[in-house]
């Protein structure tokens, strides 16, 4: 391996065009939509559709996604290979990795894993805010027991959009930004195993989100994020947006899983064993196995639904020999591992940060790994608890009740590792540490409430109520989003060189923590009192708790806006540069590289990469690896 100086030369036309990647992508999306719609029109004429669906629309959507990717330049490499063109030169590769710098490199095909991580980060924050707007709409509407400014249909559409946007983003909320950015570095690799595939997983998301949002103009979709048939069969054209968008997201999750697994298994630094990789990498690895294997099940059932809608197949129509249970089963075979795709990386990043602030080694590293693997394995055997109230054979209920209750064991093991690490520690209550504590508090409630839903008798009483909604939000928002905000605060100095204001961060934490619990404790109570979810009207006697939930929800929305304000202020408006690279005094390997981290991370493969949790040893500091790299400026030993 050599480092060479590449003389700057006039850019070839391909690179000039590639710099306009996102613009070309948008143009390509329009062209793809028109072409796809024409093909769909010819395949299934519009008058052949009686359900309100339209082959032209679905194939147009698919065409727009393909056109977008073509405009971004994703097909250049495979086409060049097919045409037998020379392999990319070093100059081409340097351009692909964004070595010219500048913000423009984030708006085109860029295969540097750190750039992809940043792209994910900004996109996910933007769409979390957008999904949050939907939540504000819902809570504003529910201030009154009767519909005030939304019809039942538009209310359902907003509920659906809020839930699907949040599910899309939650799927990648931690793996997307932090997994892509840090996994290669944490294992001593110079890149991901398949860099182009990594970029593809990100660039599938914008068209998916836009296709989903376009469903607003086509009547929305009434099914929520679960897309249940036969309601989906009968829904208006907005349903097609859900189907295509979810297909794109499923492909993205699966490819991301493939890439992460291949990276961890083949790209570790020489001598770095699987028992020495950071706990966050383990969480990403287990999640990636779920991410690789679960979405193909979703893809199969989504294609069936599309065939029902545009081809008049009857997969889910009893009159034609189909059954809605087919959807429910296949969807939840995907859907329940999906829940752990959300939460496992949050556990991983929480356990990764915890020793830094507890100033103790991670208690029970192997136990935590075992717990995560146990959650991953058991997550395949619990899906029918979602069907307890929809008429599954009674003889199946005990098995799924016990398997669902059993999954709380490995989950608790992981939780206990966190508690064990905190035991007799000398904690530094920085902002990330506060979010860790918030995570643990919220997840405890989320976990306990889940046990009631795994139990058949109590699930019968609670399933259709706000109890389920509150439980789900306690686990996903209370744990994953708290973990994400804490992790952004923790890792931002490493990613951008900027630190967030500690005092404002603490205010934001307490604001978010109190309003979150105010919101969802109110909803838990409403659920116990029997308020049904997804319905715009409710018993007037429940208005007090609804007003409470709404007011706390508005405060929660305000806390997220405040976080956005801190983020923008301290990184863009009045950037605060970190005085040292390793601002948290972490032993993590990712903090041992210079700032900014070089494009390919290392000049030579590191040889002293090891488990970074020896906070109880005095001699834990080692030289920065990488073949003669200097210590980062400002780092004190």
């Amino acid at each position: 391996m050599t480092t060479m100086a590449v003389a700057r030369q006039p850019r070839p036309l391909s690179q000039v065009l590639a710099q306009w990647g996102i613009v070309l992508g948008i143009v390509g999306a329009f062209i793809g939509f028109v072409v796809g719609a024409q093909i769909g029109e010819h395949l299934v004429p519009a008058d052949a559709n009686s359900t309100g669906s339209n082959a032209a629309l679905i194939i147009g959507y698919v065409g727009s996604a393909i056109g977008f990717l073509a405009g971004m330049g994703f097909f250049n490499y495979p086409i060049a290979r097919l045409m037998g063109r020379p392999r990319p030169t070093e100059w081409d590769e340097a351009f692909l990795y964004g070595e010219e710098g500048g913000w423009k490199r984030y708006f085109r095909l860029n295969v540097d894993h750190k750039a992809v991580g940043m792209q994910y980060l900004v996109t996910i924050i933007a769409f979390l805010m957008l999904g949050g707007l939907g939540a504000m709409f819902i809570r504003a509407e529910l201030l009154q027991p009767e519909p005030s400014f939304a019809s039942a249909e538009s209310y359902l559409t907003v509920v659906g959009l809020h839930s699907v946007i949040m599910i899309f983003m939650a799927s990648a909320a931690i793996i997307g930004p932090l997994g892509n950015y840090f996994v290669p570095i944490m294992i001593g690799s110079r890149s991901m195993a398949f860099p182009r595939l990594e970029a593809l997983t990100f660039w599938l998301l914008p068209p998916a989100a836009l296709i989903l949002l376009s469903s607003i103009f086509l009547g929305g979709f009434p099914t929520g994020w679960t897309g249940y048939a036969p309601l989906a069969d009968e829904a208006v054209r907005g349903m097609d947006g859900y189907l295509v968008a979810f297909t794109l997201v499923g492909i993205s999750i699966s490819l991301s899983g493939l890439n992460m697994i291949a990276t961890v298994l083949t790209r570790r630094a020489p001598g770095l064993r699987m028992t020495q990789i950071p706990i966050f990498v383990w969480s990403v690895f287990v999640t990636s196995v779920l991410g690789l294997l679960a979405p193909p099940v979703l893809l199969a059932v989504l294609v069936m639904e599309m065939l029902d809608r545009i081809g008049h197949a009857t997969f889910f129509v009893p009159a034609g020999g189909g059954t809605p249970y087919l959807w429910e089963n296949l969807f939840w075979v995907f859907g329940h591992p999906e829940v752990y795709i959300f939460i496992l990386p949050a556990f991983g990043v929480m356990l990764e940060m915890l020793p830094v602030f507890a100033r103790k080694p991670l208690w029970g590293y192997r136990v935590a790994v075992g717990g995560m693997v146990g959650v991953g394995v058991l997550s395949w055997f619990v899906w029918q608890h979602h069907l307890f109230v929809s008429g599954i054979a009674p003889s199946l209920r005990p098995f799924y009740m016990f398997s669902t209750e059993a999954i709380s064991i490995p989950t608790s093991i992981v939780y206990l590792v966190a508690i064990g690490t905190l035991w007799k520690c000398r904690a530094r209550f920085t902002v990330p540490m506060l979010f860790i504590m918030g995570f643990l508090f919220n997840f405890l409630i989320g976990g306990f409430t889940g046990v009631f839903l795994s139990d058949v008798p109590s699930d019968f009483a609670l399933h259709a109520s706000y109890f389920v909604q509150a439980h789900f939000h306690y686990t996903i928002m209370g744990a994953e989003v708290f973990g994400l905000v804490g992790a952004i605060t923790f890792y931002l100095p490493r990613m951008t060189g900027h630190v967030l204001n500690e005092r404002l961060g603490k205010i934001q934490f307490w604001w978010m923590f109190i309003s979150f619990n105010g919101t969802f404790l109110s909803l838990l109570a409403l659920g116990i009192l029997g308020m049904p979810r997804r319905v715009v009207t409710y018993d007037p006697g429940l208005q007090g708790l609804n007003v409470s939930a709404s007011l706390f929800a508005f405060a929660l929305g305000g806390s997220m806006l405040f976080f956005l304000f801190i983020l923008v202020k301290d990184t863009i408006v009045t950037p605060v540069r970190a005085r040292v690279v390793n601002v948290w005094d972490s032993l993590g390997n990712e903090w041992r590289l210079p700032s900014p981290i070089p494009i390919h991370n290392f000049t030579t493969p590191p040889t002293d990469w090891a488990l970074p949790y020896d906070y109880d040893r005095d001699d834990h500091r080692t030289a920065v690896p990488g073949g003669g790299m200097a210590l980062p400026e400002g780092v004190t030993e």
Binding site: T3, V6, E93, L258, A262, P296, L299, F315, L326, L330
Partner: protein, 195 residues
């Protein structure tokens, strides 16, 4: 002005391991897709007993033309393995590669022809038996044709700019993929024909 570009010497062993790993992970994901289809098939089968599953008027799946299709897939696989052996022995890949390409394309075309000539009653609106079977056959056609383009890039245009080691590892990965497709195609056909 200059920009630094790190040039890594090719690590053939790492590239081989990465490609094989990626290929096998893809096949694992594909297996889940196939498992979903098996589940759907059997679930719908269980939901439609007696004459509901195959209503009158749906022809039996043709056997001879499917056997020919599977033989073409097998011939392509044998030619690919021969090409792999040739390239590992230092010989040129193109002769046997071309044979594999011809057989592969013929297999793809035969499958498309098969899809359009399943017999009377084979439309997806004619109950779930035809719908799930045709969808499954369609998935296999898409995968076969995409696989053929991969083979094209390996044996026709690839060698112009690839090392023998690169051609070898791609052929090996492709042979695993094609073997998988052969097994899947055979299994699906037998299931749909017999169950």
């Amino acid at each position: 002005m200059s920009a630094s570009a790190v040039v890594f010497e090719p690590d053939e062993e790492l590239n081989r391991r990465t490609l094989m790993m990626g290929n096998r992970l893809f096949l694992a994901a594909n297996t889940m897709l196939m498992a979903s289809m098996i589940f759907a098939y059997l679930f719908l089968r269980g939901n439609n007993y007696g004459g509901n599953w195959r209503p009158d008027g749906i022809a039996d799946l043709p056997s001879v033309s499917m056997a020919v299709t599977l033989l073409l897939q097998l011939a392509c696989l044998v030619a690919v393995l021969g090409a792999l052996r040739a390239v590992q022995g230092g010989a040129d890949v193109r002769a046997l590669g071309a044979v594999a390409l011809v057989f592969g394309l013929a297999a793809g075309v035969a499958r498309v022809w098969y899809q359009y000539n399943l017999g009377s009653g084979w439309v997806i609106t004619n109950g779930t038996y035809t719908a799930v079977s045709e969808m499954w056959f369609g998935i296999l056609i898409v995968e076969l044709l995409l696989g053929w383009f991969w083979l094209l890039s390996i044996v026709v245009t690839g060698p112009r700019n690839s090392t023998k080691a690169a051609t070898s590892r791609h052929l090996r990965a492709f042979s695993e993929f094609w073997f998988y497709m052969l097994i899947a195609s055979t299994f699906v056909w037998l299931l749909v024909r017999l169950v």
